[in-house]
């Protein structure tokens, strides 16, 4: 009888540990900064009456705690470092709810973690929005109407290609390279067709490719570094650098081809 109770208790502890590491894994793969991941895991652990030791790196999320019988350990691999702020917000609010004691059982928490919101903005709506944003970027850099129009058209093509390749499951670096190449080349063509000067052409290409700025990896990388999470900070900054370099290669390719063929 006592052995059965111990076994049941151990299973509950293991389940709690798994739930905490799952939360960490979801947050890490949705682009949350490291401090937020660790504090959310601690918050959930506190709500589950556990005092855990947790860690996050590029490889995965570790959660462990000591029991009289030994150590309970849970590890989850982080497959991708994506960006989904809806899920980050959802998980953060879930932890706050758990802290307030709004979940009655482990099943409820597990259910909440298994049914993450999968809301996406429709691509057909996002492409023109991002194209107008590129036009706004052109205006912010003192462009005239012709340049703004070229930037909008270039960004329309760039974003369409980006979403198409993303849907086909290509690597992100390849997507950035190809979409920057085609988008900036088209922006250049549109600008030249409207008789825009060299400076205007430069602005059109620049505004078109600014929609590829990897804002979250870049700023989260710095946030991690300043809060002492050096390894994840460097990983995120390197990720941002690789993406920026991919876009730069695409733009350089477009410029070289335009020069070569005298476009």
């Amino acid at each position: 009888m006592v052995e059965n109770l111990d076994l049941k208790h151990r299973q509950v502890l293991k389940r709690k540990c798994d739930l905490i590491s799952k939360l960490g894994e979801i947050l890490a793969s949705s682009g949350a900064e490291t401090r937020l991941i660790l504090s959310s895991m601690d918050l959930l652990a506190k709500a589950l009456n556990l005092s855990v030791q947790s860690a996050v790196n590029r490889a995965g999320v570790f959660v462990s705690f000591d029991t009289p019988e030994g150590q309970v350990l849970s590890f989850r691999r982080i497959k991708t470092f994506g960006i989904n702020m809806t899920i980050v917000t959802y998980c953060h609010q879930l932890c706050l709810k758990a802290e307030r004691g709004e979940f009655k059982s482990l099943d409820e928490i597990s259910e909440a973690l298994n049914h993450l919101p999968h809301k996406h903005y429709p691509k057909i709506f996002l492409v023109p929005i991002e194209a107008i944003a590129a036009g706004c970027f052109a205006y912010l850099n003192q462009a005239n109407l012709e340049v703004i129009a070229s930037a909008i058209l270039g960004a329309l093509i760039l974003m369409s290609i980006r979403f198409y390749l993303s849907q086909k499951g290509f690597f992100e670096t390849f997507i950035f390279m190809v979409s920057a190449f085609v988008g900036s080349f088209c922006a250049l063509l549109f600008a030249k067709a409207q008789g825009v000067g060299l400076e205007g052409q430069t602005l059109a290409i620049l505004a078109t490719s600014l929609v590829l700025v990897p804002g979250f990896p870049l700023i989260n990388g710095f946030l991690d570094l300043f809060k002492g999470y050096i390894d994840t900070g460097i990983t995120r900054l390197m990720q941002a650098l690789v993406l920026v370099s991919s876009a730069a290669i695409g733009i350089l390719g477009a410029l070289l081809i335009a020069n070569y063929y005298g476009v």
Partner: protein, 160 residues
């Protein structure tokens, strides 16, 4: 002066569109887009008000704009129960130094294809000038967002 004011306000309006557009790419929930539009416009207006009126140079102006946005969301984000970077990162996108980065890239190409030493020397100067300015502005955005919460870190931790 009225031209400058008009420029600042129209740039604020454009930034109010750019911020939510990026936020949608990062899948920020719909109900926060209006807040991001406002803060994005505010960030741009603060930066340009300081820069276009010759009060400060671009790097310091950018730092102050990013720090102001970060400070605002230290109070607003916990009330909305949303992690702060959801707002701060998207609000500061309109401060990204695009033109300098691109000019640095063009200068780099000129160096690679340069045949005359005078032109190459000029390109090297341009590369460093634009490259360092772009890097400094980018660093100012990141520092502006990252440093301000460090002052409130203990306070926020206890209230989390």
């Amino acid at each position: 002066m009225s031209d400058t004011l008009f420029r600042i306000l129209t740039e604020g309006l454009c930034a109010a569109f750019v911020g939510p557009a990026f936020a949608m790419l990062f899948l920020v929930p719909k109900r926060y887009l209006l807040i991001i539009a406002t803060s994005s416009a505010l960030a741009r207006i603060i930066r340009q008000s300081l820069y276009l009126t010759d009060t400060l140079e671009i790097v310091s102006a950018t730092f102050i704009a990013a720090a102001a946005i970060s400070a605002i969301f230290i109070y607003i984000a916990p009330k909305l129960q949303v992690p702060r970077p959801v707002f701060t990162v998207t609000s500061c996108i309109s401060l990204v130094p695009g033109l300098d980065t691109y000019n640095a890239l063009l200068a780099l190409i000129s160096i690679i294809h340069g045949k005359h030493s005078d032109l190459m020397a000029e390109s090297i100067v341009l590369l460093f000038n634009h490259g360092m300015r772009a890097f400094a502005v980018l660093l100012a955005i990141c520092l502006g967002i990252a440093i301000v919460p460090l002052f409130f870190y203990r306070y926020r931790y206890h209230h989390l």
